[in-house]
Amino acid sequence: MTSRLKAALGRPELRHEWHQFRLLSRDSVRRLLDSVLVARDADPMLFALWFMALAMTPPLLVAAPKFVQYAFLKKAPAALVLQIATAERAFFILYGMLATALLAALTWDALFPDRTDQEIVGALPVRPRTLAGARLAAALGVGTAFAAAISLPAAFIYSAASSTHPLIGAFPRVLAAHVIATMMACACTFLGLMSLRAIVVMCAGERVADRLALVLQFVTIVMLVETFLFLPSVLPNIIEALLRDHASYAWAPPVWFTALFLWIAEGNSVLGSHVFKAVSVTATVTVLVFVVSLLPAAWIGRRVLEVRSRERATGVATLARSFALLWVRGPVVRSLFMFGVSSLVRSRRHTIQLATYFGMAIAVGVLKLLPPLLSLRGSLVLDAPRAYTIAVPLVLMFFAVFGLRAAFSIPTELDANWVLRLVQPTVRESVRASRWLIVMLGVAPIAIVWLLFTLAMWPAQTALGASALILVTGLVLTELALSNWTKVPFASAHEPATETLKSKAAWYTTALLMYQFILSELQFRALQSWRTTITHLAVGVVLVIAIRTWRAHMLRSRTPTFDVISSETTTLNLSEALS
């Protein structure tokens, strides 16, 4: 058998195909890193910082403090120790799964051969299956490296900390359990999502798969933020319920891998029935990803070339056109507005960026809702104004306005901006177009949804007052966001991130906390009488007028910025601080 295998591998065509596979795999890894993780105009240092934050948070913030915790738990009852250890292990597993899902969402496009691949490699003597196999191998390589980076540091520290307790297994065993359970959880997530993508592409096409990536990114960001900010405080309660009645949680994949962790670390079979699920589901998705990626490779390759691209988001563009004709005055402003809408809805990079902001908004927005929702502090009241409900649209507005402003800064096709350079719109026109874009795509939809919600839940007068307050708050925020805006949306150069990694985080965090906690309380109080509501609205309108007047004065002689002006970057550069 071995000699036959050797003979088969010795065949020149198989050797050549293996050589092709290696070349394409190497190129695929580069492409994956270049086009998705380290985009051309992204700063590698910034990317490294984000990656370090993602990888080092579990070991440093969660695992390291456990040395002290387990020292204090030496004399605690066994049931309590088990509950705490299970909760912590569930956290590591859930975190790994979410981080891997985020990686899958970010690398969505580069996981499988696309049109460019077909046009470049398809013309060469390369089997479609070799190309698909190389892409798959690269994705698996990157996924494994990522999962290892996420899991291993925490595994070492946490195993060392927890295994000091006599009820917890020995260090090597806990370490092995941690690594196996978290890596398998990550693999199951990554391979499952890759299989899902391949199946969606086969059954519904690339467009639906694209939309799925946005949803996935949005969901993972929401869940990652919630996992960090909220889960540690409620997880022990969830685990207590799980240990009491684990059959009710049999649907949750983190439970399966937590069971696997417990089983390997201490031979604990309290959740034993789920161990088999962890192993069998991981094995199934592993086989599935090979089947759905390799078998239809030739068919998918041909289909990619034969399907003609269609216009994306036709509905939004038509709606925006009608809106612009009715409301936006001036041909230049209208053109810039329409260009902005089309760029935003048809550029994948920008929609992904907005999905990230939206995910953050939802995650942060519901933070005030969760304690009453989970009955940790009172109960959730929806049929009357409360500060925690008002906080939700405020936070959404905050992220929508600044998310859109951030998206405007990134050009779609920088080389094509010559047409705008020739026409040279004024800064005033550019600001007007940007304002309409933010109002139409961010402020107005949130205010309308909020109005519908409050009309359904609250008395009409209170609902109208609350919605007016949210609308005016959004307009003030829009004026603040555009106070020093001199670019043309989607057409001006984006400063390289190395130069622009600014120390504005503190400013944004303070502003966000003000919005979420102080302003929501203020608006809640303002809604107590119509007089205070009117006063708040009047203050908002005065602020809008004041900022617009000030900006008109400051920017009256400015021309739009198309190129990067390095002298404007005066804020602290964290990249340099690290070097």
Binding site: H16, H19, R40, I120, P125, R308
Partner: protein, 254 residues
Amino acid sequence: MLDMIDVSKSYRGVAAVRMLSLSARPGQVVGLLGPNGSGKSTTVKMLIGLLRPSRGQIRWQGEDIQPQLLDYQRLVGYVPEEPRLYAYLKAPEYLELVGGLHGIEHRTLRQRINRYLELFGLEHDTEAPMSAFSKGMRQKVLLSAALLHDPEIVILDEPSSGLDVAFTLILRRLVMTLAARGKTIIYSSHEMDMVEKICNDVVILHRGHVVAHDSVTRLRELVHAASLEDVFAALAVDQDVDRIGTELATVAAE
């Protein structure tokens, strides 16, 4: 001999090419002409095996290419219409990838790459990613990639796009020399002057059909035209070019 026999191609029921037949012998340069949307790109993509015909056959040396597609593709060198390449790679890296996929031994490949880069004047641009390249520079890389493995069939789709005058002249000499060495060459272009000078035979496509397939001289005689451009205008141009041109110049002034 490369033959397309009664080839048709439809995209979701919409015909792009209908009952197309053409042939090209070794040593011959066949020009592929046609207005936008005439089916040129689809024809080229079928010729290189990227697309499979809905009907008909493409044959090389009398054999259908589909059952032995990989063997056929080993013989093909292709320059695409759009300068599609992995722009994050440097030119030598890209050529190493393509040459490696063709199975060229590393040392030979390095020598050939250096020679091509030198001849195309790219030897000082080997450290820059191709994303920073001009259209002409990318076209030179694509030409190098198409020739690296000394192909028997060379399919060029708008190869002079972005090239300056000197390199357009070099390209002309290159195509003629390849033909003299017995290569089969398909040259798709909108540049009548170039096609007239280098092609033995010309195929004119119009709405997915072949409307002419003969030598330039014979076509000129048949249509009583002074140049290939006039032949093309007579066979493949539906529009009233004078009227549209005049109106285009005055639309904004009305």
